[in-house]
């Protein structure tokens, strides 16, 4: 990863549709909005002590994306010794756009994709801010 890149860590929770939306948002950021200067890591690899993953989180600013208030991504990153530079929750996007109902974990549909994109754009702005801070 080039210098001053930002690592995105979604919870990818499988129990709630919020987890799927957060995962999608992470990919929108890394593949479409800010390719080349962002990447994801597997949350479980980080928590289970994978050295390379832990090194990346220590060396680069990290943004966590949680589905719900339980905040597993943030909690797991902190438990692994990391300190997120920013935390986002899909739940908060839903609070602002309650017309976007997402009912299925396996298929978030157009409403879920719309929610993911809204969140991804917020995260992209934060990525820009964090990268500027490092200059």
């Amino acid at each position: 990863m080039p210098e001053r890149e930002v690592v995105i860590v979604p919870c990818s929770g499988i129990g709630k549709a919020f987890g799927s939306v957060g995962r999608e948002a992470a990919y929108v950021v890394t593949e479409e909005l800010r390719p080349g200067c962002t990447s994801t890591v597997c949350l479980s690899l980080l928590t289970l002590g994978d050295e390379e993953t832990q090194r990346r989180v220590r060396q680069h600013p990290t943004i966590t994306i949680d589905g719900c208030p339980t905040a597993c991504a943030r909690v797991n990153v902190e438990q692994a010794g990391g300190k997120p530079a920013a935390t986002f929750r899909v739940f908060d996007v839903f609070r602002q756009h309650k017309e976007l109902k997402v009912r299925r974990v396996s298929d978030i549909g157009e409403a879920g994709k719309a929610m993911a994109r809204i969140l991804a754009e917020e995260i992209a702005d934060k990525v820009d801010e964090l990268r500027k801070q490092g200059e």
Partner: protein
């Protein structure tokens, strides 16, 4: 009549974000849960599991689990064993793909025929493993023989591989009982409920049919090694006899 818990299989998918195989693990698990074996499976959320959610961990102590990992790092399998008990089955998508001779997936999201084909094949295999764990042979998997890349832990009570945790945590209402099997202490899940049910049905401890029925019921909740069956059978019957004697002394079940 005591209510015996319905046995289900927990699916724990790595959902790894870095590889398309992580998406495959997730898609396959959800397909089994929603379509192929609804009502017979439960998903365990790996992030919650890692964060310390007790109900996820407790389920994996008492019920069989299948860990589905995207790659050889086996995060789901390792986490399950670390915090609960060894999964009954461990599958790795990347290894299975090679065994099945399927094309590698290309994308972590969006349309990808190779990823979709792999997820469908994996889901079918998973359904077969669920059936096997629930002892419903032939109801699901198209594979005639188990694919070599599936690791099964069949020895002992669920979760052995390391010592199973103490009984009846506050997070579960499934009681266990220890029995002496040829000098070895073995924990048998759901045994108190089984004994209560048998007593209410009037089954006598001195009948062979009772021993057969005990083994059949115990097998639903516990893995029994083939070479330990006879010893366990004797131990269960002896424990049931003691249970009946105690119930008679106190005037009820």
């Amino acid at each position: 009549m005591p209510r015996l818990p319905e046995r289900k299989v927990g699916l724990i998918a790595c959902s790894g974000e870095e590889l398309p195989e992580g998406t495959v693990s997730r898609e396959a698990a959800l397909r089994v849960l929603e379509l192929l074996r609804p009502g017979r499976t439960v998903t365990l959320c790996l992030p919650l599991f890692l964060a310390g959610e007790e109900r996820e961990r407790a389920f994996a102590r008492f019920f069989p689990t299948i860990a589905i990992d995207g790659c050889e790092k086996r995060c789901a399998a390792r986490a399950t064993e670390m915090y609960s008990a060894r999964p009954a089955v461990s599958l790795v998508v990347s290894e299975l793909r090679e065994r099945l001779g399927l094309d590698p997936p290309n994308r972590v999201r969006g349309p990808d025929t190779a990823r979709e084909a792999l997820a469908l094949a994996l889901a079918d295999l998973l359904a077969g493993e669920v059936d096997r764990l629930l002892e419903r042979p032939g109801a699901g998997s198209k594979a005639a023989e188990p694919v070599a890349a599936i690791i099964r832990s069949d020895g002992g009570a669920p979760g052995t591989g390391k010592e199973a945790e103490a009984v009846c945590s506050c997070a579960s209402d499934i009681p266990v009982q220890k029995v002496d099997v040829d000098g070895r202490t073995v924990e048998v899940i759901a045994l108190p409920l089984i004994f209560s049910q048998f007593l209410q049905e009037g089954r006598r401890p001195d009948e062979d049919a009772t021993a057969d029925a005990l083994m059949e019921q115990v097998r639903i909740y516990n893995s029994i090694p083939v070479d330990g069956e006879y010893a366990l059978r004797r131990a269960l019957l002896s424990a049931y006899e003691a249970f009946c004697t105690g119930a008679a002394a106190t005037g009820g079940a």
